[in-house]
Symmetry: C2
Subunit: 434 residues, 2 copies
């Protein structure tokens, strides 16, 4: 059974705090192993990558076969049924249309002192996208990572996707093609992250690495951070649904289960202002769990980490939701805009009962790479901005330097940075002599 909480209960605060602090990830101690793998790839390049791929993926490669050939890609893509191809194309188109709007604007202006100021956005030069193999090999994630990079204007975009025992996912290759990527290395794990960060004889280094992965990939990304940029260290998925009684319990149950089926440590929370509705949803979840294909994953997730929270009103619901700062938030209430106005922390927000979270995973347009583990308190989902950076601009005139230069000199001297002060003073002296 999931937990049932009621904000009127005496022990509510303690139980809600315990829910917030629930440790769902049992991070294995892989850091030393990962450090060794990275050092090995830096030392021996391709040879290390090939050896590690043989060891972990039971796949024998050569420098020439590290990447899929165009023929292999085309042959795999040809096996994709038309319905899936059409769906993926529609998803790519809609994701692109959403992300194009995120392109940031440059700015230039002259302030009252005559200083010309501004900023300019430019794309990251090269980006590498990690795509997990096996069960978590999701073509939708390829689109969600690659399209923002492409829209940002990243010139070189490559994928690393392990193919354990040589098994590739044709839909992943199709998604790569739809995103304009033609270099796909069939390598994975920490060795793939190291190869993209430091480069090998065959694999050119990139500037930014994004994409989900297992504990080894996460530890490797954390270690190469600084040498390259990374997106985020993703944790298990979460959904929080705020629903009043005017909802179909089965729909809400399916929305909760669509996170629970991802991972035994995924978390699904319902907040409702109607206790009876909460119970009805819990019954609907149990009914669906009887036949759900992934019930061996969704069942433990729901029973160990699920929660149904009854609140006095929707204002309280928003308050608790903000403390959770969920990755996905559904607002299944009559006045979605009023409730939205009270939400301060959430990765992606789905408005109204006709917007199941699964729409956002695939086809809505917004990105599905989102902050987990309460990190929506301080971070955002993946966007075009993650593949761009901003240079600030400043241009002084002699008159402007006369106006504000002396203050800079004063502050430089107060910080005991004499050369800073002199670099301003030398120019002011010239102006005073003229």
């Amino acid at each position: 059974m999931p937990q049932f909480l009621d904000s009127r209960d005496a022990d509510f605060d303690a139980r809600f705090a315990a829910l917030l602090n629930m440790k769902r990830e049992d991070a294995p101690e892989v850091d030393d192993i990962v450090a060794g793998i990275i050092a090995d790839v830096r030392d021996r390049g391709d040879a290390a990558v090939i050896e590690l791929t043989e060891k972990f993926d039971r796949l024998t490669l050569t420098p020439d076969t590290l990447a899929f050939s165009p023929q292999e890609i085309d042959a795999a893509i040809a096996t994709v049924p038309a319905a899936e191809r059409d769906a993926l194309e529609l998803a790519a188109e809609r994701i692109r249309a959403y992300h194009v709007r995120q392109r940031p604007e440059d700015a230039r202006w002259t302030d009252p002192e005559g200083v010309e100021l501004g900023w300019r956005w430019t794309a990251v030069g090269a980006a590498g996208l990690y795509v997990p193999g096996g069960l978590a090999s999701y073509p939708s994630s390829v689109l969600m990572n690659a399209i923002p990079a492409q829209v940002a204007g990243v010139e070189r975009l490559v994928i690393c996707a392990p193919t354990p025992d040589g098994t590739a996912n044709p839909l992943v290759l199709l998604a790569a093609k739809l995103s304009g990527i033609d270099t796909i290395y069939r390598i994975g794990g920490a060795q793939a992250v190291a190869a993209m960060a430091y480069g090998t004889e065959t694999i050119a280094p990139v500037d930014k690495i994004t994409g989900p992965g297992n504990a080894f990939v996460a530890a490797a990304k954390r270690r190469v951070f600084g040498k390259v940029g990374i997106d985020m260290i993703a944790g298990p998925s979460e959904i929080l649904v705020i629903a009043d009684a005017e909802n179909d319990p089965d729909w809400v149950a399916l929305d909760l289960l669509s996170q629970a089926e991802h991972d035994e440590v995924a978390q699904s929370i319902l907040i409702t202002d109607d206790a009876a509705f909460g119970e009805a949803v819990a019954r609907a979840v149990e009914a669906r769990l009887e036949t759900l294909e992934r019930r061996h994953i969704a069942g433990p997730s729901w029973r160990d980490y699920g929660a149904v929270i009854t609140v006095r009103d929707l204002t309280e619901a928003a308050e608790f939701s903000n403390r959770v700062a969920p990755e996905h938030l559904e607002l299944c209430v009559a006045d979605t805009e009023a409730l939205l106005g009270k939400i301060t922390h959430a990765g992606a927000i789905f408005l109204g009962q006709w917007t199941p979270e699964a729409i956002g995973d695939y086809i809505g347009g917004p990105n599905h790479v989102l902050p987990t583990a309460r990190s929506a308190r301080f971070s955002s989902g993946l966007s075009v901005l993650d593949f761009m950076k901003r240079s600030t601009l400043a241009q002084m005139t002699p008159a402007a330097l006369r106006a504000i230069g002396p203050a800079a000199e004063t502050l430089a001297i107060s910080e005991s940075l004499e050369a800073h002060g002199l670099s301003v003073r030398a120019r002011l002296d010239r102006l005073n002599r003229e």
Copy 2:
């Protein structure tokens, strides 16, 4: 002597690559110590912070004196001379005026299928700013970190600033006051970072930690990343000046020295299309080094890590500069706009000979917290966006779900995520029945 390189030389590529890969930071092995300190603060809270402050800063505190009292702050501020106060106020005003323009815009639109899409920006709830003590205690850094947070709308903003042996910098306290911060803890090191990330009995936890610090602070920020957001792990400062012969060698020398004086491992590089001008600048540097207060820092920096690179033309200069991806870049050439168009990676760009980099450190308006160690390839200087995050929005209508829902269902099934598919299907079935 700094290195002299010429792009026409046979060994140029190898020497330029060596310059790029020069290891300037000898990161001490502090990670285990820092892990212990963080665990101690998590376990024992205030008691641990107080003990560690006694040990490292030789300062005895109690929970009541962890923060400066309003009286202490006012008394310290009263000692600041009027000229410094005025300069700091002008700086704060100009920094605020620049950063206000960075406030991002929300968006809402309806697409052709009737899906309502958009995003909404909200501020981080609480931020903590680390301000180093001792030699690197810079009031300007307080402004550069605190003002963007304030402009973003961060509700709770605190400072941790160690005061070794009890010595506080009145200008730091004044800068805090000018930025609207009244909670200033006199603690530092990994213990301060741990206290801000996890909270103690006295110190409430924050959501984001920014600000520079020594190796212990950097290691602690890296470790708490995920629990809270962090800005960047700053390395030693760098400047790259692209200058033609129409410049005063002394001005360029002072600009190079204004980075060199920060740190023995700071790096200053001149790229010029005139070898004789490069030599003149090198002579001017040596002349200034004879009397510069910080010559014991700036001298080793220039001689060990400085470089003068002669290139064929300014296009080549831009190309090499982009490979360096400098933190600070000065374009001291006749046609700054033409050269700017060729620059792809740089933290802050200073246009023309009347814009010494020191202006940007204090009073220009743009932020001086900038990406170091070539990370301008993939990251930006601190901005208002670092203290905000974006929630994506999506709202389907029944008609929109009919139009694009089936594609989402197809993709969910192809990824073996049945509940995802069913959450869409259950709604489509209702529509089909109606």
